[in-house]
């Protein structure tokens, strides 16, 4: 057992993290930290989160023993933590509920958020509808084209979706625009960031709201097996579902933690999103973290078949866990993810999100190298309905195998 107390009071995880934002945002960032610290001490705040997670989101989510998949892998037992069964179909809502309740507590009337594929946007728009908050979602022009259905969903839920045309017109630019909007509207607006990134306290706060995944997993696994799993596997976009399932296990050194990035067309091509594997530490969106960048410090575009992993950075806490070796990070290509997507559908009757399929693909490999007495838990971060069209185009269009 080790002890783990990060971040420090400045929001640093080792050298990573911090509050590297313009002075105009410092007041808002400090206020948010204060408000979050107060809310954490207030039992009624946590009780309200718990109530909504239970009655509205449908928690707790099952821990499912995937017997067919395990047999196929031929080695360790694979368990799936079913975040795909949450309302709106992914883990994103755990964080959206926590932050939106905090915004209400802070007296904010408006929520601004970024989205890539639209999953975080949909979760945010959903919670805003529930809590009667005005909702503005920034989304890259490219992503709006690719995810028309999610745009319509957000609009149905009452959100205003703003097309971002600056920079590369994708997720990182949507974050830039959301930050710019927040800078100009800090008085009445909360920025509901969707992953464990951005300036302190976001990485910590999002981790805490998502750590319900790991807490439940630990209890469920103990109840069933009277032990801890040998390994926990999760996909990494910004890193929120992974941090959520890792965090309650960090001090249990005997549990190996594996974060899986998107290798896109391969980490030796220009088309991947493997920030920890191929990137370097740098500063973007308010934090020091691993980034895909050129030698001159210009941020590069990320590429992955799964829009939710298509971000050129990985949150500061993962950057630190990599640095100290507590978690290990690997990557899975588009092709491998597509195969895992079909495999899980056929073997278990569960269509996973393409993001989660990256974790499944790695877990199958890992299981085959482990003993039959050992156990792996995979965070199945979301369901695949949103990806069915993409996958169909790839498979029937002749590009995939």
């Amino acid at each position: 057992m080790i002890t783990y107390t990060l971040p420090n009071e400045k929001g640093h995880f080792g050298i990573f993290g911090g509050r590297l934002v313009p002075e105009t945002l410092m007041k808002a960032v400090l206020e948010l930290e204060q408000a979050y610290d107060n809310a954490k001490k207030d039992a009624s705040f946590q009780a309200e989160i718990d109530r909504l997670l239970k009655e509205y989101v449908g928690r707790e989510t099952p821990l499912y023993f995937a017997e067919n998949l395990s047999r196929h892998a031929g080695g360790a037992n694979i368990y799936l933590k079913r975040e795909d069964l949450n309302h709106t179909g992914a883990h994103k809502i755990n964080n959206a509920i926590g932050q939106a309740l905090l915004a209400v507590r802070m007296g904010k009337k408006k929520i601004v958020a970024e989205t890539g594929a639209g999953q975080h946007g949909v979760a945010t728009a959903t919670v805003c509808a529930l809590l009667n908050l005005e909702c503005i979602i920034f989304m890259g022009e490219e992503d709006i084209k690719r995810q028309a259905l999610n745009v319509f969903r957000m609009e149905l839920l009452g959100a205003k979706v703003v097309s971002v045309t600056s920079g590369s017109a994708t997720l990182k630019d949507a974050v830039n625009e959301a930050l710019r909007y927040w800078v100009a509207n800090v008085d009445d607006t909360h920025y509901l960031l969707g992953s464990v990134m951005g300036p302190h306290p976001f990485p910590t706060m999002v981790r805490d709201f998502q750590s319900v995944i790991g807490k439940e997993t630990k209890e469920q696994f103990k109840l069933r097996n009277s032990s801890l799993p040998d390994a926990v596997v999760a996909c990494i976009g910004g890193g929120s579902n992974a941090m959520g399932i890792f965090y309650p296990f960090i001090e249990d050194e005997e549990v190996s933690l594996y974060g899986i990035e998107a290798a896109g067309q391969g980490v030796d091509t220009e088309y991947h999103a493997a920030s920890l594997t191929k990137g370097k530490p740098g500063v973007l969106h308010g934090a020091l973290m691993y980034l895909l960048q050129n030698d001159d410090g210009q941020i590069q575009e990320a590429h992955s078949i799964s829009a939710g992993l298509d971000y050129p950075g990985v949150g500061p806490e993962h950057s630190h866990l990599k640095e100290v070796g507590r978690a290990k990070y690997f990557s899975i290509t588009d092709e491998e993810a597509l195969e895992a997507f079909q495999l899980l559908s056929k073997l278990e009757g569960i269509i996973p999100a393409l993001e989660s399929a990256h974790a499944i693909a790695f877990a199958v490999k890992l299981a085959s190298e482990m003993k039959e007495s050992q156990n792996i838990v995979v965070c199945l971060s979301g369901r695949g309905d949103k990806d069915v069209e993409t996958v169909k185009a790839r498979l029937k269009g002749g590009e995939g195998k």
Binding site: V283, G297, Q298
Partner: protein, 261 residues
């Protein structure tokens, strides 16, 4: 006496006010950087901010974002800019201030950056995504190199914070005149004047107002309560449109007895 003190001493012929233009290095090609700096000094700049392009400029509005994209398309690098600034230093006498986001510096190497800009004669550095709390990442290196870190205060900064920030600085204090990004305006004149008055009172060093300042009337109004202005988006736009006459006219705003028509 460093170049800042010298430059601000010579302001008498400008009614004691400083006009500091901002330009994006590499916009229009890096080869014209020196020429443009010389021109800005000739037009009466008290100091010049040289912007370093960055792929993700969160503090900037559309005009400076576009200039940055053009500069990056021209393959502008921080290294290239520093090389050009060495040449500029031979012909430009006023302070040169680099304005850059943190990541290009981080990628360059913080120690190397501080040493290299000192060597070429850069006087100051503005880093818009470096608040007080995070200064340790680079402030000691800049101090060793005797490069001034120019700090920003904004209408969202509480008074105690403004006092703390102003007290740390040399050179000048940059008072941001909007709650927002460059090139925008969203405060009523009255609130702005009260803000500038408060900053001026708290600051032991000259206070320059910046962000969203684009015309003579604004400049005259704002400088009733501060020591000068930084003009960015407007200068970038005028360089882009190659309207040097309008630039000269705008920059003559503080000159006594000079009328450019």
């Amino acid at each position: 006496m460093n170049r800042f003190e010298q430059s601000f001493k010579l302001l008498n012929e400008y009614n004691g006010k400083a006009f500091v233009p901002y330009m994006m290095a590499g916009d229009g090609g890096l080869e014209c950087l020196v020429e443009r700096l010389v021109l800005l000094e000739k037009f009466g700049a008290a100091a010049i901010e040289v912007g370093v392009p960055f792929s993700d400029p969160v503090a900037d509005g559309p005009t400076i974002q576009s200039a940055g994209i053009r500069a990056l398309k021209n393959k502008t690098t921080l290294k290239g800019i520093i090389t050009e600034l060495a040449k500029a230093r031979e012909v430009v006498t006023i302070p040169i201030i680099m304005m850059t986001y943190l990541n290009p510096i981080y990628a360059y190497g913080i120690d190397a950056f501080a040493q290299d800009i000192q060597t070429v004669g850069v006087d100051g550095c503005i880093i818009p995504d470096l608040p007080l709390e995070e200064e340790d990442i680079i402030a000691p290196q800049l101090a060793d190199a005797q490069v001034e870190l120019i700090r920003l205060v904004t209408p969202a900064s509480p008074l105690e914070r403004i006092t703390e920030i102003a007290g740390r600085g040399k050179g000048f204090l940059y008072a941001v005149t909007v709650k927002g990004i460059t090139g925008t305006r969203n405060l009523f004149d009255n609130d702005l004047n009260e803000f500038l008055k408060a900053v001026k009172k708290l600051s032991p060093i000259p206070v320059l107002a910046g962000f969203g300042i684009s015309n003579e009337e604004q400049i005259k109004e704002l400088t009733k309560n501060c020591d000068g202005v930084v003009v960015g988006s407007k200068i970038v736009e005028l360089f882009d449109r190659n309207n040097l006459h309008e630039m000269e006219k705008l920059m003559a705003v503080f000159k006594q007895g000079v009328k450019i028509v």
